[in-house]
Each structure stands twice: as structure tokens, then as C-alpha cells.
Symmetry: C2
Subunit: 154 residues, 2 copies
DNA sequence: TGCAGTTGGTTTCAAATGTAACTATAAAGA
DNA sequence: TCTTTATAGTTACATTTGAAACCAACTGCA
């Protein structure tokens, strides 16, 4: 028969990845474990999704942002932001009103209720981060920050 | 009126998180960027999802695993693995047959076609990893591995 | 003006994912 | 052996997510 099967030549190895040493994989596992741990905290307490919390966090930091700006700052896409905001506004955690110079643009802020949640969740998140950092020595922490900066190209 | 509003006392700051310096957030962004970059490669070429590729990668490394073992090794849940396998078997990339000592258990292997894909994708993935590591000095790479080991508790 | 292109944001539809229930086989104990 | 319990894997259903289409408002420019 034509088109003979191309069996792997005996001399050539397949060289499979070793996932447990593969950096992208390790990052993924670590990141998911950490983020999910934090998310469990506030999901249980406030029925808040991770995207919703991120939106709240950025609104705590910068008041009066538009949805677009929230999307930019959270690296989430605008559809996700739109949905998160719909729930947050509905739940009375974020206020939204129209910008007077541009009727498409919304002006977003945490409400009192939103701030109250923020003031509980933010310290919890920080504690989780601290628990993680506690696994490292001072020297390792310094390197980690430097390495992240480099990996993220700044 | 009763139930007076509890406005934040003037002296107390809300202390919002600075996401751009918050470790869990940075990890998440970095991990997503990297993994998505790799996934784009093989999705375009082979219409392969990230979960499918992970299953293939682990089967390349360990032949004859059961679905359960694949799930354990990829940190994916068994439903995700089951679905990925269904597609992979359907596409002729993985072979599945029943273990003779245990009729519930499947014995999984890459087919020729599966290996062929593996042998293209694995080097691409490695190249991506290398591109990432190239941003670091030798010293930083060493620290990174050490730090990841620590953060993952081993 | 008024039309073309852009931008902010939402909606719609399909695909991906998670949870729980289910089937079939195996193992353990009375 | 018969019954219970555990395990491998799939199916069903509900929820989440993403891509593209969409609408409304703004901008630039003839």
C-alpha cells in the first residue's frame, strides 16, 4: 500500500513534557489553588464571584470608573465586567449613574454596603497572601517580586 | 430616625488592595497569559482544548494509565477527563481498551496520530516556556524554581 | 448639518464546566 | 453466598463563560 505508516524511527525519542517541572503548568496549578482559596472565603460569606470581587476591589481603589476602565484594570473582558456589574448593582453593592458629559459611559462606585463587604474581604485576601508569603524567606520574597516584574515585561 | 447609617469613621481608611502588587492577582494574570499563549498554538493547529492537551501530555509521559490516574496527574476532575477522552478517542488520538483484570478500568494510550500531534506540540510548548525563562537570568531561574517548590509546600 | 466610523455597554447563542445522580464492576464482610 | 460499600467512569442538568451581533451615543469630517 502506498502512504506507508510513518512509525517513529527507533532512534528518535518522543521527549514528553514533564508536567511537574513545566513552568506554565506549575504556575497554573499554583495560581488556581491560591485564587480558589481566597474565592472560597468570600463566596461562602457574601455569594460573591471572583469577577465580582475583582470589580469591587478596583472600584475601592479608584472611584468613579467606567465599566470599560474596570475591564482594563482587571484584565477581564467587558462582557464579564458587564455581568458582574449587573449583579453588583442589583445587590446594592455598587451604584451606577450616567456620566453627564457622555451618556454611554457609566460612573461606578461602591455603596455603603459595598464598602462594608470590601472592608471584610480585603483583609481576608491580604491574610491569604500573607500566609503564602510566610512560606518564603525575606530573600526569596524579594526575588519573587523581581522575577514577576521580569516575567511580566515591565 | 433609628438605625443611623454607619458611615466610615473619618479616621479609618478603607485600605483597598492594590491589585497590581497583590501576589495572587499577579500570579493569575501571568499564568493565564502564558497558558493561553500556548493553548492558542495548538488550538489553531489541531483544534485541541487545553484539557485535551494536558491529557495527551500525561499519556505521552505515562503509557497505559486509567482515566482516574490521568485525572490525578493533571489535577483535573474526572468529568473533565472523561469528556476530554471522549473527544480524543473519537478523533483517533487516543486508544482506549478495557483492563483485563478490572472491567471498569480503561487502559489509555496515544495512537500514532496522537504521538504525531504530541511531537509537534510538545516542542512548541517547550519553546514558549523557554521564551519565558529567557527573560530571567540564570540566578533568577534558580530562585524561581526554589520559590515555586516552597509555595507548593513540598 | 449629516454621514461614516468608533466606542461604551448589553444581549444572544453556543460551547465549556461543575455538581449530582447514575451504571457497572469490584472488594469486603457477615 | 449474599449484602453492603467503594471505585471507575459516564450522563444529565444547571450555571458559567466567550464570541459575535447588536444598540445607542459620541466623534470627525465633508
Amino acid at each position: 500500500m502506498s502512504n506507508p505508516r510513518k512509525a517513529t524511527p527507533p532512534g528518535i525519542k518522543h521527549a514528553p513534557l514533564e508536567l511537574e517541572h513545566f513552568l506554565p503548568y506549575r504556575l497554573s496549578i499554583l495560581s488556581n489553588t491560591v485564587s480558589q482559596g481566597i474565592a472560597d472565603d468570600y463566596q461562602r460569606l457574601y455569594d460573591l464571584s471572583m469577577t465580582e470581587w475583582r470589580v469591587m476591589a478596583v472600584l475601592a481603589r479608584f472611584e468613579g470608573l467606567s465599566a470599560r476602565e474596570v475591564a482594563d484594570r482587571t484584565a477581564m473582558d467587558k462582557v464579564a465586567v458587564s455581568r458582574a456589574l449587573a449583579r453588583l448593582v442589583e445587590a446594592g453593592r455598587v451604584s451606577r449613574h450616567m456620566a453627564d458629559n457622555d451618556k454611554r459611559r457609566s460612573v461606578l462606585d461602591l455603596t455603603e454596603a459595598g464598602w462594608a463587604i470590601h472592608d471584610v474581604v480585603a483583609p481576608m485576601a491580604r491574610a491569604r497572601e500573607q500566609a503564602l508569603l510566610d512560606k518564603l524567606s525575606e530573600e526569596e520574597r524579594t526575588w519573587l517580586v523581581r522575577i514577576l516584574d521580569r516575567l511580566q515585561d515591565r
